[in-house]
Symmetry: C2
Subunit: 108 residues, 2 copies
DNA sequence: CATAATTACTACGACAGATGAAGTAGTTTA
DNA sequence: TAAACTACTTCATCTGTCGTAGTAATTATG
């Protein structure tokens, strides 16, 4: 299990990744992250939804509603141009981060 | 430059790494981290010293004084058995974290 | 020789992101 | 009929980071 402080800087990135190939909504993204990581990382509901708010405020995602008659109303999200640019930046940053942290990892 | 939220979960680990090969003190550790990462990561003073407090409270490091006549008095730190165990855990966790995050990184 | 820079911290308050707990509300399964 | 699942929302709290500022001693500079 991964501690939250590690992923802290990348929760937004994970969500944006999940939106790269098309719109989605909270519950689905949550499930997909869980599955993709084989339960190695489970994003908490509150973390996820507060990330949506932040991402939308920053203009990285847009919310909208589908007209669907069934089920509880979902808020769908799609990534924006700005969000894509931010995602790419984060990917670059991640490479540097890995290099940096790896210098402090000793093998035994 | 790396954002602080990324390293957040690993500042303690970086410090412990710096103590693996012997005792040191704040200012020295700070300089060494800066040099080792070629300025790619600079730990803020307040972050560093608050990390010392936390690490000592958790029993991961021990503080002591050298009897030195010169300069402002330094607080030296050494890593404990518990600290070493924690460090090793963190190294393992880091490997998993890398695998997880890398699943959300797309190459362009 | 005065002053700036460097070394080596300490105190304090603010802030952002993560989280636990709890609640709402509709749908599907047992 | 109740439990489980889907799909959120609100709120209050905690932790770690960071900006600002201050203290105090030593060393370099002009």
């Amino acid at each position: 299990m991964i501690s939250s402080d590690v992923i802290r800087g990348y929760n937004d990135t994970l969500i944006l990744y999940m939106l790269l190939d098309g719109e989605s909504y909270g519950y689905e993204i949550s499930k997909n992250i869980r599955q993709l990581t084989q339960e190695k990382y489970i994003m908490k509901e509150t973390t996820l939804y507060s990330a949506f708010t932040r991402l939308e405020k920053n203009g990285y995602i847009e919310s909208f509603f589908q007209d669907e008659s069934l089920g509880k109303r979902r808020t769908y999200y799609r990534i924006t141009r700005l969000g894509l640019a931010y995602y790419k930046e984060k990917c670059e940053e991640w490479k540097v981060t890995q290099e940096v942290v790896n210098q402090f990892i000793r093998e035994w």
